[in-house]
Symmetry: D2
Subunit: 316 residues, 4 copies
C-alpha cells in the first residue's frame, strides 16, 4: 500500500499547504482531509495513515487547543517534523466578480479578526459572515449556484482548489503571521539529530507550590538548554493541577538534553516525550548560536571521563 | 445611559451564559453580542459598552488566541472579574424529532471533538457538520424552514433561545470541562483585594537566553508568589522574541505581589499589567492556603522597619 | 617498612589526639609530629608518611587557613577520613602546685580566647601568656627547671605527655567546642561508600558576576545534594577571583553526586576533587535523612532506562 | 578624653600597621595593643576605645576565626571601615648579624608556612622556631640579652620597633599576599555611601535542606547584588545548624541592597547586619563595574512609581 497522509481538512486549508510543503513529491491521492484534529490523530494511531499534519501554534483555523489536548492526553504519537507556513490571506471570488460587487464576505472567525483592518479600509460596506473554516468559505462561494456569499477570505490553495479568482492579495493586517504545523508518526525511530533540532514534551508537576515551576525550568537552565515555548494547561484531574507543554532547543540524543530530561523525569509526577525533530525556523522559530562551549557532547564526555578518573582515586 | 455589556456572540454562546452569571440582575436588553473577540474589546475601548466578556482559557468556542492577542497587543483594558463556566453539551432538536430521527448533527469543531465518543455510541450513523459556533448550530436547526440539520450540539442557553427541545444532556465526553471567561473594563479603579485574588500580566523578555525565563520566574518564587498559568507567545516582532502571559496568585495591592512586579519591571523589556481581581476557583481555579508566614503584608512591614533601624545604625 | 603517620605537632596537640583516635592500634613510634601543617602535607606527598592528620575547621591550634591553602594550591592529596574531637581544655601544673599558686598561665592565643571567662572567675589575678601551641605551653611548664610559667591550658594528652597534673578540667567557656580533623592520603583508591559520606572539593568560578555562585550551587540543589560547608577564598591570581571550598553530603560513587560534580566541572574554570569519605557526625557534623526518593541510585538508573527507551523512539 | 584605638597586639603586628594606615594622624599614644582579638572587641564595647582594628581575612597572625566568632556571637559592633595591607615579610636581626650567622629563626607558624621556600633556598641549615606572633619573634630577638634566636621573620614595623636591622626583604614565597583588616565602632551612624561600598552580614538559615542556601543567595542575585565573600560556620547550637558570613557589594542605603536584606530577613531565622563601609580594593578586594542598569536607585524608584500607577488602575 502506498503512503497516505492525514491532515486537518477540508481541502484547501493552510494545513493542506503545510502537508504539501512537507511531502512535495507525494501525489494528491495520498492526502486525506479529516474532519477535526482528533480525526487526524486517530487515523495515524490506527495505521490508516502513515503520518498526519495538524496546526500547533498561532493557527488561523483553530485546532491548536485540540492538538495540544491530543498530544497530552491521547495515545502517544511522535512529532517527527515541523513546518512554519506564512499565513497569507487572499480575497477570492467567482470569475466576473469585481471588488465593488462584494457585499458579503465569508471566512473563519480567526481569519476575520486578522483581516478587519483591510476590510474596513477597502470594503467598508460589506457584511462579514463566519463559517467553519476558510476552505469552507471558498467552497461555499464556489460551489453553490445560489451562494449567499460574494467572496471568501482564504488561503491561495483553497481559492485555486475551488476555481475562484483572486480579487486582492495580502488582505491580512499583519504581514508576518505564520502558523506552525507538526507532522505526527507512530512511535518508532526518531529523526537523526541535525544540529538544529527541537524537542517537545509535557511535564506533569508533582504538586502545586511556589517555585515548583522554577525547579522544573532549572533542570533545563542548569544544562544550558534553551526553552522556546512553554504553556501551562490544567490537566483535568481535579482542580489546581497543571501540566506544562514545552519546546526546547536540541535533540534528545544530545547529552545535555538527555540529562535535562532525566532530571525532569526524576522530579516530575510524569513526563511525556513528544519527539525530537529538525527545527523550522523560517516562520515562527528563532535563531540561536550553537550550544555554549560547556554543554556540547564533547563537554559532557570530557566530564564523564574526569568523573571516572576521580572515582578511581586519580586526582589529576 | 444604562449599562451595556458586550460579549462574544452570537446569542446563546457559553460566553453569554458567563455574562449572565456575572451580571444576574441586568435585563437582557443590556447584553450586546459581538461578531468576534476583537469586537468585544473594541466596544469596551470606545465606551460603547460598560464592560465585556470573552473566553480566556479552554474554550469550546475558540476565541482564546484572539483574546490573548488583544490583551497583549491592543490598547490596554483591565480584567476586573473572572468566572469559570462548566461546559455542558446538550443535543437539541426541533420539537417532534426523536433520537433515531437524527441523521445530521451541526455543531462547532471544538464541540464536535469533545462529543465524538457519545456520538459514536449513540448516533453511529449520523453525519456531523461543522458550523461557525454552537449557537449558530442551534439557530440553523431552529430557524430555517428547510434546515439541512436535524439536531445541534450546543449550550442549554442556545437551545432554549432558539426554541429547541433537548434530546440528550451531557453528551460531552469529559464531564469536568469548563471554560474560564474574563470581564473587561476600561482602566480605572481596581477591585479591592479579597484575600483570594489573581493577578494577570504579560512580561516581555529582554532577550532570549537559557535561564532568562528562570530569572523571570524567580522574581515570583523569591517572594513566594505562586503562578497559576504561564504561556509563552511569539511577540511578532521578528524571530525568537517571546512574551509570557502569566496569572499569579494574589493582588497587586499586596506587598509580595507588588515587589515581585517591580522586580519584573526592572529586568524585563516591558511588563503589561492586566489586572488584579477575585479568583474564581469553582471551575478551573485551584485552592491554596494563605501566603506563607514570611510573605504576609505584616512580614514585609516588619522587614521594612528592621531595614530602617539598621540604616540608622541601630544593630539591635 | 611499617606505617608512619604525620601530624601537626608538637607532641600533645589535639591533632595527636585525633590521630590516635583514628589509628587506635598503631604504636607510638609510628606517630611523627611536624612543625607546621605544610610539613604534614609534604611528608605524605613525599611518601615519608603513609598518611597525615591536620585540623580543618574550628581549630584551637590554628592551622586551618594553612590546611585549606595546601588543599587548594598544593600537589593534590586525598582526604580519606575525618574525625571530630571535642575540645576540652584542662589547666595543668607541675606536681605540688595548687590553684592559688598560679600567677602565670601559658597557652595558645586561640585557647586563651576560649578560656577567658573561666580565668576571670577563677584566677582573676593571674597573667596570661601566649605561646606557639597548647602543647608548647605544657612542655614549657614541665621541662624548664626555671619555667617562667606556673600552669598551662592544654589538652589532656599534652598534660599527661609532659608529666603534669590537672588542676581544673573543662576550663573552656563553651562546652560543645570541637575541632574537625582530616586524614590525608596519596591519590589512590577511595574509601567505599558507607551511606553516610562526605565529599570535599574546591570549585574555581569562571568569572565574577552576580549569580555565578547561585549557578554553582544550583548544580548541587538540582540533584538534591546537600552542602554542609561553603567557604570562599581569594585564589591569589589577581583581584576579584575566588574559589569555593565545599563539603557536600554523599559519595562521588553515588549517581547524584557524580552528576553534580560533572555539572560543576562543565561550568567552572576548574574543579579540584578532594575526596569522599565516611562522615564523622559525632562532633561538628550534622544528621540528615537519606536522600529523597527522587535522587537514589535507583532513581537515576530508572531515569537512564527511560531515556534509552525514548531515544529509541519508544514513547511508552 | 582623646580618642583611643584598640588593636590586636603586641606592638609591631601587621594589625598595628593597618591601624596606622587608617588613622595616619593619630599620635602613637592613642594606639592600645590588646592580648587577643576578643580583647579588642571588649575594649570597644565597653567604651574604653573609640574604635578597634582586627584582622578578618587571610591573616598571617591568626585571629580570623576569633574575629568571626565575635562578630557572629558577641554583642553587636559595626564595621565602619576596612583596609587591606600587603603582607611583606622581612628577615630582621640584631645589628652586626650577617646572613650566614643565622642559625635559629623565630616567627609565627603562619608566617613560617609562607616563607619556607625562601628559607630552604637561602638558609637551608637554619632551624625554624615557632613563637606566638611575628612581633613576639622580633621582640625576642631584640630584647633578650641571651636571645635563643638569631633572627626573626616579621613585619617591617616590628623590626623597626625593636631596633633590629633588615637582613633580607620580601622573604615570603607569594608576593601578592595581603590581609584584610576591619575597623570596629559601637552602633551609631553608618558611613555615607560612596558608590563603592561593601556590606557585611551574618544570615542564620531557617533549617538545613538542600537548596536553602540557594534560596538565600537568590535573594541577592535577583536584585543583582554581587557577593564577594561567603563562609559557612556551625552556629554551635547543636549539630547541623549553620550560619553564613557574607560580604556583598553595595551599601545598605541603596535600594537594591536594602531590598535584598529585607528578603533575607523574611526567609531567615535571623540576620545580623555588620555594617556598610567603603570598599578597600587595593589588596584583597575586587573591581567590578557599577550596578547594572536595572538595579540603580533610579531603577528602583521608577519601578515604585510604575507600581503606584498600576495600583491606581492606570495601565499606561
Amino acid at each position: 500500500m502506498s503512503n497516505r497522509y492525514a491532515y486537518l481538512g477540508p481541502e484547501g486549508t493552510f494545513t493542506e499547504a503545510a502537508l504539501r510543503a512537507l511531502k512535495p513529491d507525494a501525489p494528491a491521492a495520498q492526502f486525506v482531509p479529516c474532519n477535526g484534529v482528533d480525526m487526524v490523530f486517530a487515523a495515524v494511531r490506527r495505521g490508516e495513515a502513515t503520518g498526519g499534519v495538524v496546526p500547533l501554534e498561532n493557527s488561523v483555523e483553530g485546532g491548536v487547543s485540540a492538538t495540544t489536548a491530543e498530544l497530552v492526553n491521547g495515545d502517544p504519537l511522535l512529532i517527527t517534523a515541523e513546518i512554519a507556513v506564512a499565513v497569507e490571506f487572499t480575497l477570492f471570488a467567482r470569475r466576473g466578480t469585481a471588488l465593488p460587487d462584494v457585499k458579503r464576505v465569508a471566512t473563519h472567525s480567526h481569519a476575520l479578526a486578522q483581516c478587519r483592518g483591510w476590510l474596513a479600509a477597502n470594503l467598508p460596506d460589506a457584511e462579514a459572515h463566519i463559517v467553519s473554516s476558510t476552505a469552507a468559505a471558498a467552497q461555499s462561494v464556489a460551489e453553490e449556484p445560489s451562494s449567499p456569499y460574494d467572496a471568501a477570505i482564504c488561503a491561495r490553495i483553497a481559492g485555486e482548489r475551488y476555481g475562484l479568482v483572486p480579487l486582492a492579495e495580502g488582505v491580512g493586517d499583519r504581514a508576518e503571521a505564520a502558523t506552525r504545523f507538526i507532522y505526527l508518526s507512530r512511535p518508532g525511530t526518531l529523526p537523526e539529530p541535525t544540529g538544529a533540532d527541537r524537542t517537545s514534551l509535557v511535564a506533569f508537576l508533582p504538586h502545586d507550590h511556589p517555585g515548583a515551576l522554577v525547579e522544573l525550568l532549572t533542570q533545563f537552565a542548569v544544562r544550558d538548554v534553551n526553552l522556546t515555548r512553554l504553556e501551562s494547561r490544567p490537566t483535568g484531574d481535579g482542580l489546581g493541577t497543571y501540566c506544562f507543554f514545552m519546546d526546547a532547543d536540541g535533540h534528545v540524543a544530545e547529552a545535555r538534553v538527555g540529562e535535562a530530561l532525566m532530571g525532569l523525569r526524576r522530579i516530575c509526577k510524569d513526563v511525556r516525550f513528544l519527539g525530537s525533530y529538525p527545527r523550522a525556523d523560517a516562520g515562527l522559530g528563532h535563531l540561536r548560536p550553537a550550544a555554549r562551549i560547556s554543554t556540547t557532547n564533547d563537554d559532557f564526555h570530557e566530564a564523564e571521563q574526569w568523573l571516572a578518573r576521580i572515582r578511581a582515586g586519580r586526582v589529576g
